[in-house]
Amino acid sequence: MRVSRLVRLAGLLATLWLGLGNPCPAAARIATDSAGRQVDIPDTVTRVFAAGPPASVLLYALAPEMMIGWVKAPRDAEKPFLLKSVRDLPELGRLTGRGDTLNLETLLASKPDLIIDFGTLNDTYISLADRVQAQTGIPYFLLDGRFGATATAVRLLGEVLGTRERAGQLAKAIEVILADADRVIAAVPASSRPRVYLARGSEGLETGTRGSINSEIIERVGATNVAEGLMRNGAIATASTEQIIAWAPDTLITMDRNFHADVRNKPTWGPIPAVTSGRVYLSPSLPFGFIDTPPSLNRLLGVMWLTHVFYPEQAQGNLRDKVRDFYALFYQVPVSDADLDLIINRAGGLK
């Protein structure tokens, strides 16, 4: 009791000291984040900083009004698929991952009540969170970014941000999407599921190996990722064309428009079954990628899309409607038929 009184007193003093413009977040409750850290959450949270691109997408879906900036500003092509209120928020840089581009003073100047990160939980990220929190005094909340934990993470963040209702809505939709996919996958015998190669980069030689967060979605929809990495560690790696021929994938998924357009004209890709049969699919990327880039809620669109692409006979319902509903619920933007053509049809297999 004495501690909490002290904290409140400190909060009050700090409020007086900092003036009226910025009511200092007083630690009003304690929440446990996905890494088991006890984080003091201010009474009201209105300004949230997302530490990396996955957290950005999560925050945008759950509480766009609390965003104070982007890790990387959206490009012009992406803006029509984002809410007007957030399109032109400033680019603040990233705190996590490889190479921070954010100055902690910039972070403080943007006055967030809370910092969130969504993704891999390991000691590096946990200690980063602890350090930033100690240095800036801003609570830093970690959320588990694994696919299976998505709905839980959304609900947990909803609790913290005080947007329980919307979080419940989104979490429910997530569970429905994943359960639908599971039902379709269960109806397909393992032998008739595709063997997929994920072609990244303009040459298609970069790939996410089995078990990596970048290719997780392939395994999530019951397919086999042909690319095996070193020591079973999933990561982004380079493969040679000869190795890809030896793997003989029956389906290619790419994120690169040029590669998708050119692959049939590349003689070295000719012998690959996926190319011969025209099963080369371009992952949609507006406003966020369907496969990864970043690995966040946007991948649920990929789950729906790949379920229809891989198992057209078993998948139920209309993909266009599902995608439209997802954009309406998660991104809160209407999608016209022309937009859908732009988003989906360009992705189709080569004919």
């Binding site: 190479g99 970069e206 095996e228 990495g229 790696a237 493969a239 021929i245 030896a246 880039t293």
Partner: protein, 337 residues
Amino acid sequence: MNTRAGLVTSGLAAIFLLTVLVAATIGPYQIPPLDIVTAILGRLAGSPVDATLDTVLMQIRLPRVAAAALVGAALAGAGAAYQTLFRNPLVSPDILGVSTGAGLGAVFGILLGLPVMAIQLLGFVTGLATVSIVAFLARILRSQNDIFVLVLSGIVVGSLASAAISLIKILADPYQQLPAITFWLLGSIAGIKLVDVAAIAPLIALGLAILVAFRWHIGVLSLGDDEARALGIDAARVRLVIIVAATLVTASVVAVSGVIGWVGLMVPHMARMIVGERFDRMLPATLLLGASFMIIVDTLARSMAKIEVPLGVLTAVVGAPTFVWLLARSRGVWVRR
């Protein structure tokens, strides 16, 4: 003595041919050696061969072996020329900043999302430009010790370029561009194509031909400018020609393969141990050894694991201990004259 050097060089040539043959039979796509022979013969005779086998062999594996041989010979040859020219055993082909310069251009190309051919061209141009800047700096700073200023300018401009590379890495998209940049900077010929080989082969051949043609001059220059002048050689001009040739060769290689360290540093030392210090004997040995070494390393890179292991990593793992061993063996060779 002469016959011995000739014999050794022939032996190295035989080893080179053997590595080419063995490398052609190794790869993730299994082809029995006999099928390779029939495929090649069939292609020469114009009879139809299995399409996949033909693609794997003619479009992927053999161009890659050829590229490895070119890359190895080029880097080793340029390294040997520089080491002798600068009379310094620690010099490698990128001493004048050509690798970092080419790296900067290529990495910038990746950041801009340019097509691969444009990335390679940009790397080539910035590599040449970097060395030109270095040469220009050395010229306006002209001092008593020309070579010293030249090498120092190379280090200065090179570290500036690598700072710029670091900046680009920070700005790059961490999901798409950063992995591409990292792989490129570690060197790989996984994506090499017949057209790439065809594009760089004439440039490398030209550069190496110049080095071979000037092998006597380089040898004489290593004795010092005064000795060279006494023998009627214009040291400054010959040095410029050698630098241009070695830069051309290195820039062509780096443009398609990324930065591959150690080869240009280590292979000349191996050659020196085998055939001695005379540059005219050492150069052919260096070229053959460099080609064989690179083919072996690249074969490892593509067959050790299902995914590619970056060449720069392998050359460092193989190169560092070998270099220490060479130093231990050749104590005294590089003592101060």
